[in-house]
Symmetry: C2
Subunit: 342 residues, 2 copies
């Protein structure tokens, strides 16, 4: 007889469609006895509801906002592009995605954004940003208004976010460390480490993972104190050059944060390509080029497409109070070298 439908359940339980629906969606106002009858019918017939039909009837649309920081990094751009791409593929999913860029330091701007989010009937928000009290409080207010909130790329562990979508940065740092050490072979010397900010949690984690591996497995390699690039390629170039001038030749550069262009500029200008092993993060167009031309040796990547799709799946599931398949939502630490560039 094909998959059972609400009609079959209704008949089997001897109730109306409306009652079946109430039970199925655990809405109040049904006698316990009736609830049981329906539940039993569901069991007996092995009913599983057609969520698409349900959404159609309910005219359910999901509105999700991706709240990203201001700034023109290629990673942010590719993330934004991934949202756009997902958006077009997700019309079947009845999801509408919007990207909002915000200055997270500015309380007024943030309030405006929050108002915007709340006034447009948003179901959920994916937030990427450094961990600050301002953001933590905003998340709390959004949650209080019933929205679902996921942290994207960098976690907000002390907030009320429903989920974190991104990689394990400590493991990413270890991965970078092992590849650096392996690629260097027997060579001993100093490696520069560049982070966005020594305050930022993801950078701290990457640095820690990197350091752990260096200390335990490659003691002949010295990881120098972190240089702060502040998401700015020019500053990255400046601090890196200063470091080289101060410390003498490097054997490796680990760029844990943004501004890889600053690194490649210095590597090229000083003719270090091939002399120095360079490990960077995020497979942006520029990093691809750098892999192609040999300026960068390894890129540790988190796939922005996966991140966005995972965020949407999780936001949708949480909005429906449905289950999520944890294993599917794990974001992998990808390793890219010239040869496996898709």
């Amino acid at each position: 007889m094909g998959k059972p439908t609400v009609h079959d359940i209704a008949k089997e339980a001897g109730v109306s469609l409306a009652t079946v629906d109430r039970v199925l969606n655990s809405r109040p106002g049904v006698r316990e006895k009736t609830v049981d009858r329906v539940r039993e019918a569901v069991e007996r017939l092995g009913y599983v509801r057609d969520i698409n039909a349900a959404n159609l009837a309910r005219q359910r649309r999901y509105r999700f906002v991706f709240l990203l920081p201001e700034g023109q990094s290629q990673f942010l751009e590719s993330l934004e592009a991934a949202v756009d791409e997902a958006a077009s593929g997700l019309i079947d999913w009845r999801c509408e995605l919007e990207v909002i860029r915000a200055t997270f330091r500015d309380p007024l701007a943030l309030t405006a954004v929050e108002r915007r989010i709340l006034s447009t009937g948003t179901d959920g928000v994916a937030i990427m940003g450094h961990e600050t009290p301002l953001i933590r409080d905003m998340i709390a207010r959004l949650k209080a208004r019933g929205l679902t909130v996921v942290a994207l790329v960098t976690d907000q562990p002390n907030s009320e976010r429903d989920h974190f979508i991104g990689i394990d940065n400590m493991a990413a740092g270890r991965t970078a460390g092992v590849l650096m050490g392996r690629f260097l072979g027997e060579r001993a010397g100093r490696v520069a480490v560049i982070v966005n900010s020594t305050q930022s949690r993801d950078m701290v984690d990457r640095r820690a993972g990197f350091e752990e591996v260096m200390a335990s497995r490659f003691p002949h390699i010295e990881a120098l104190p972190s240089l702060e690039g502040r998401d700015d390629r020019d500053r990255v170039a400046t601090v890196l050059e200063a470091c080289i001038d101060r410390q003498g030749p490097l054997i490796g550069i680990y760029c844990a944060g943004a501004g890889t262009r600053g690194v490649t500029r210095v590597v090229k200008e000083r003719g270090l390509a091939g002399q120095v092993i360079v490990v960077a993060h995020e497979l942006t167009p520029h990093c691809r080029e750098a892999l192609e031309d040999g300026t960068v040796d390894v890129v540790i990547n988190q796939n922005v497409g996966h991140i966005v799709r995972s965020a949407v799946r999780v936001l949708r599931a949480k909005s429906d109070e449905a289950e999520i398949i944890e294993s599917q939502e794990k974001i992998r630490i990808e390793i890219a070298i010239r040869e496996n560039l898709s």
Copy 2:
């Protein structure tokens, strides 16, 4: 007024719903002039059809078969598991997946499978198997009956398959080669290469890619002639041991095919872990363990979950004569080391 629906189109074009439907689905029996009127209305209102509602009305169900070779390799198992997992996640997609294992050498068995496929109202088939005339012909017959067919993991380039879903094996071989060379550092010596069969296209491609890199970038490393493991771990162990006994110590082992257990057994028994760089394919449970305990250094992987989901998306799209987003269906060559194991 929200997204336009068929009703809006009908009103705008001054025709009935049935006619709109006919035009939308390019069914025959509509005057050209009427077609144009509807098309214009669609344009004007920016209509995009709700595929879920369409499928609901049409009571459309998709039945897809995954036809895999007999054999108990962990890769096949994980592929099968991925199909099962996808199946449960795909009820929303109205897809029903079945795995059939077949002996591709046996024409009678194959005919039985084919009959089974055709008699159960299957919409499409994903086939993984070596390129043989038997398979080529079966694909032709399935196509003739209107099914969609995709080749999985190993391509069937001379058949009428609609699509190939898997990695570029030449690039995979190059990736293996570069990592082998990099991890070996300055060490010179011989590397064993193990393939399933020297006849099999994917193995030929991987070997070629590996060799190319060795010759051009690591001339101090010699890739020995391919050993045939025939998908059998015992045989892999035997040929590898014979190779070592004959050639003397190796510095590396590239296991391009199945039977990695044979490799790890020899590596362990002979105490070669850490002495020899081992690069293998497919992140099976055994390979994970081997990465964890250091018996294997690198695993080149194709994500079975992605492969299966991609296959389903493509089969579904082709069945509906819909577009597929090529970029999304590209299967990446993943690199796994101990540190980035998810």
